[in-house]
Symmetry: C2
Subunit: 244 residues, 2 copies
């Protein structure tokens, strides 16, 4: 019995998300179907992060156990021949028996793409959120630094999550502007449900002058989701990397 780790890239546009669901297409289901075709086994995979509908990944990670005698490094190529073109296995390798894609993770990197344009962009429509008002990037950058470090991020979590421990550490928040594209990169030891999208939506609210850095601090300290901006749209979000 081997424990195999997969690194996965996908275009989430046509899926209801990572996680297996009845009556809705999921990335997990597609990968499990391909594994079944390849090995004949009924394999359940553990994903590192449950990305939502329309969210993308360049470095999602999953692991599974198999009796198959295929060389660990060969799973990627073999699976790519069986997967739809919007899902690709970037790499595969054997990992220790106790490795678990979700519980062994010590950090994650997410990216978020904002398209700053007056008109909707057909080319970027599934890969960014459009913001057509002017943003003060300086104040957004300044405010983002208030979120660095270890905090209780209960105010930055969508309701409905059953997570008890809402303390997380954000290592860095980077902002890069190129042409009309604003890219955020977030690194941290973990992120709550919708946390990245809520931070982005709140920084946008701040950037258009509808909120002050002081109000962001209050949102953090009072753990009050209602003080922030709307949750940014899913199609701008990318799970870039999982750290172990």
């Amino acid at each position: 019995m081997k424990n195999i780790m997969l690194t996965i890239e996908y275009d989430g546009t046509n899926y209801s998300g990572w996680q297996l669901q009845l009556n809705a297409p999921s990335i997990q289901e597609e990968v499990e179907k391909a594994l079944h075709k390849l090995t004949g086994e009924n394999i359940k995979i553990n994903g590192a992060g449950r990305t939502d509908a329309r969210v993308h990944a360049r470095g999602q990670v999953a692991n599974f156990y198999t009796e198959a005698t295929i060389l660990p490094e060969r799973f990627s190529k073999a699976l790519n021949g069986l997967l739809p073109e919007d899902i690709s296995i970037v790499a595969s390798q054997e990992v220790p028996e106790d490795f678990h894609a979700r519980y062994s993770a010590i950090g994650k990197r997410y990216a978020y793409h904002i398209y700053m344009g007056q008109n909707r962009s057909p080319i970027l429509r599934n890969f960014s959120m459009q913001v057509s008002y002017k943003l003060d990037l300086g104040i957004m950058k300044e405010a983002s630094e208030l979120l660095l470090g270890t905090h209780d991020f209960a105010g930055f979590m969508s309701t409905g999550s059953s997570v008890k421990d809402t303390i997380r550490t954000i290592h860095s928040i980077k902002m890069d502007l190129k042409d009309s594209s604003l890219w955020f990169r977030f690194e941290g030891n973990g992120f709550l449900y919708n946390m990245v999208r809520i931070i982005v939506g709140t920084l946008v609210k701040l950037g258009r002058g509808a909120m002050t850095p002081q109000q962001l601090l209050r949102m953090l300290e009072e753990k009050d989701r209602s003080l922030g901006g709307p949750t940014a749209q899913p199609q701008g979000l990318y799970l870039e990397k999982v750290y172990y």
Copy 2:
């Protein structure tokens, strides 16, 4: 009667190309349908460039004549409400009666996106051509400079074109590498059918060591298409701008 110019962005993935065709969806047809809904008139539009199936545009230009009393600048917003989400009118304005999107053009800019990665990229699959072998960008850059200026580009045209005058001027060819993305930008007074894609495919052949700059010169001088590389895939090509 007014002559109106539209600047158009589209994701060409789901179209058979710009030009109206029977039994196949085209960008031209979608824009003409939207114009009919808006004005009640049966309007035929002139496009600046006939992009192929799966080719994209950020700055396609078209013009048409109308009796409608809508303010010229308002056409963009009004049409965007009627167009599918993979087509957007970036701008609209009135132009002189004798302006023709195709015949009045004095130059064009195209971009081409090569994704240099070992694995197919689901996220970029409809927006780039994947090249998985190593490319010598230095020799590609050097060879590209042989194409600058005014030449008979008959060797860089797909067969089946009825164009008589195959002399064109290329003003510039730029190459930018960022992460795994190689972007070309071509500016010239005009491009023959598939010319940009044939240049890219030929530069790639050169970059992987299967051709020399001397052979590129021979291809140009002898007007022999068969000496070049394969025509690069359509989904990496973008019509960026038309100059008037």
